[in-house]
């Protein structure tokens, strides 16, 4: 059994990621179908900022021990992802501040 798992470890890990992906899509559908049309724009910019989570991968490349071509891609990716994250959250907050009921 131990031997079986160790030879197929990559496959197990991959399948676990597929599970997580599919379940997360279901969670996403459940959450978003309830959002009223009034909030569609902030929802889009807010979720957009969340897609800047790629920053994790960008940091892993920009912080390599040695400077390589991957560092360059990583650096540009950090800049792009940070624009997405910071711009997205700030502009969403700016919009949401205005939504008031009198």
């Amino acid at each position: 059994m131990v031997e079986f798992i160790s030879t197929h470890l990559g496959t197990f890990v991959f399948l676990m990621h597929v599970y997580v992906f599919i379940l997360a899509i279901f969670v996403g559908f459940e959450l978003i179908t309830k959002v009223p049309p009034t909030l569609h724009t902030p929802l889009m910019s807010g979720s957009n900022a969340i897609s800047g989570i790629t920053i994790v991968g960008a940091l892993l490349s920009a912080g390599l021990k040695e400077f390589t071509i991957s560092t360059i891609f990583g650096l540009v990716a950090v800049i792009f992802a940070m624009i997405n994250v910071v711009g997205g959250f700030l502009v969403t907050d700016r919009m949401l501040k205005m939504f008031k009921k009198k």
Partner: protein, 470 residues
């Protein structure tokens, strides 16, 4: 440390889920956005503790530059510019995913001095994830930049046609996929990887260029979804669950908004993606055959003020014209004055009004119109027969009654606001020109319709002044 980092990623994922959940109600939305931002902060902090992150100078430079640009963009953008802002941010997210995929490819490529002397082993799943990240991230990047250009007026907002459009795009897509299979089997084919990147970028341009201005709500939603899916595929490249979860949430959100937008136009996703409303019907010919003959009655600001002075209920229908003229504040002043005179005023918002989902709601929120006065189409459509006056400001196709009864109309079947059932319909427009669908609006010729010509901002301001003087 490994477990601490993974647990932080888990907490961060949970914060994202709660963040999106709270974004679902105006009362909790700000809190939701804050939760998501905290989740992002935790994810970044955890990553910096990763044992593979060993140097920080490039990271610090990147974070400072990116944060600075992001802050400036977020603070400076006017509310009317929100569609292009979101379009551009989508692009940066997708671009970052594609770049991370490239970086990872070079990291494990022994031809580049990261892990020297190792044979190039690229597991099939990781190879496929890299290729998909390049494809989806690349398309999202250039596609969003074209969408940004169209919304900003830098690229034509018209439907752009080029020869062999669909066969060409299909060929390019199949080429990327075939190249991807080749790379997975022969990982050291660096040139093919670069070619895939280039073709994906080209594909983004070619796919979004044909999409016309009023179809932008669909395009922006779809690109939003892509940016999320690109995040997920990057998660598969890195083997990181948080990226997979966050990307899937955003991907699902974008798809739902896309479908809502498509339903609002009674069109299939394919029809929008393949470009152009005119291509759906018979284009220019349709506009002539459905041309309505009859008299158009115009009204000036003084007469209109007198009419509004004595009514009980008004519904305002805003459209893209209100955004273009930046008339939201002028409209708010008119609403306040009418309410002071005891008139019941509400807004009817068509799902695809403007250039992105919820565009009108943001503009009216900026002008401090209370959000409980804004009604979605299905919530107000039955109230039009009992409404005294409807004021249509810069909207056209979404109030065209031909969508209900004229089977030859290209917009037949599209859900519309039934403004023609109201006692009087005032249409504020600069001219009698056709709307985006390229067809005449028979509403303008109805006996209960009155045209109030002029730029939305000037015309509404003038009307408010006249009304004050009564």
């Amino acid at each position: 440390m490994f477990i601490a980092i993974e647990l932080t990623y888990l907490i961060s994922s949970i914060l994202f889920i709660f963040g999106i959940k709270f974004l679902g109600s105006p009362k909790t939305a700000r809190k939701g956005n804050l939760y998501a931002a905290i989740g992002m902060f935790l994810a970044i902090a955890a990553t910096l503790l990763d044992q593979n992150v060993l140097t920080f100078e490039w990271i610090i430079i990147g974070i400072i530059i990116g944060s600075l640009i992001g802050t400036i963009l977020a603070v400076k953008v006017p509310m009317t510019g929100m569609p292009q802002m979101v379009g551009m941010l989508n692009g940066f997210g997708g671009g970052a995913s594609a770049l991370v995929a490239l970086a990872e490819y070079y990291k494990i490529n022994p031809n580049y001095p990261v892990e020297k002397g190792l044979p190039f082993i690229l597991p099939i799943d990781q190879g496929a994830a890299i290729i998909l990240s390049l494809l989806i991230g690349g398309v999202t990047f250039t596609g969003s930049m074209i969408a940004f250009g169209k919304l900003q007026g830098l690229v034509t907002g018209k439907v752009v046609k080029y020869p062999l459009q669909h066969p060409l795009n299909l060929l390019l897509l199949l080429g990327v996929l075939a190249g991807g299979v080749y790379v997975v089997l022969n990982p050291s084919a660096t040139n093919i990887v670069l070619l895939i990147t280039f073709v994906s970028l080209l594909l983004g341009v070619l796919l979004v260029l044909p999409i016309g201005g009023a179809d932008m709500p669909v395009a922006i939603s779809l690109l939003n979804s892509y940016s999320g899916i690109a995040g997920s595929t990057t998660g598969f490249v890195l083997g990181n669950n948080e990226l997979i979860i966050a990307g899937a949430l955003v991907g699902a959100s974008g798809i739902i908004l896309t479908l809502i937008m498509c339903r609002g136009m009674n069109r299939s996703l394919m029809n929008v993606v393949l470009g152009g409303w005119a291509s759906a019907g018979s284009g220019g010919a349709a506009s002539e055959s459905t041309a309505v003959k009859g008299d158009v009655k115009a009204i000036d600001s003084e007469e209109l003020a007198m009419l509004l002075d004595s009514v009980g209920s008004v519904v305002i229908v805003p459209g893209y014209g209100m955004a273009v003229a930046q008339a939201q504040h002028a409209v708010r002043d008119l609403v306040n004055l009418l309410e002071k005179k005891g008139v019941k005023v509400r807004f009817a918002i068509h799902p695809v009004a403007g250039r992105m989902p919820g565009h009108m709601n943001v503009l009216l929120a900026e002008a401090q119109v209370s959000y409980d006065k804004l009604y979605a189409m299905e919530d107000i459509n039955d109230d039009f027969p009992s409404t005294d006056v409807v004021i249509v400001i810069g909207a056209n196709d979404v109030v065209n009654p031909a969508a209900r009864h004229d089977q030859n109309s290209p917009i037949f079947g599209m859900p519309i606001l039934n403004v023609d059932y109201a006692k009087t319909v005032i249409i504020n427009k600069r001219s009698l020109n056709v709307g985006y669908a390229g067809i005449e609006n028979e509403l303008f010729f109805y006996p209960n319709s009155l045209m109030y010509f002029g730029d939305a901002k000037d015309a509404i301001t003038k009307l408010t002044n006249e009304l004050k003087n009564l």
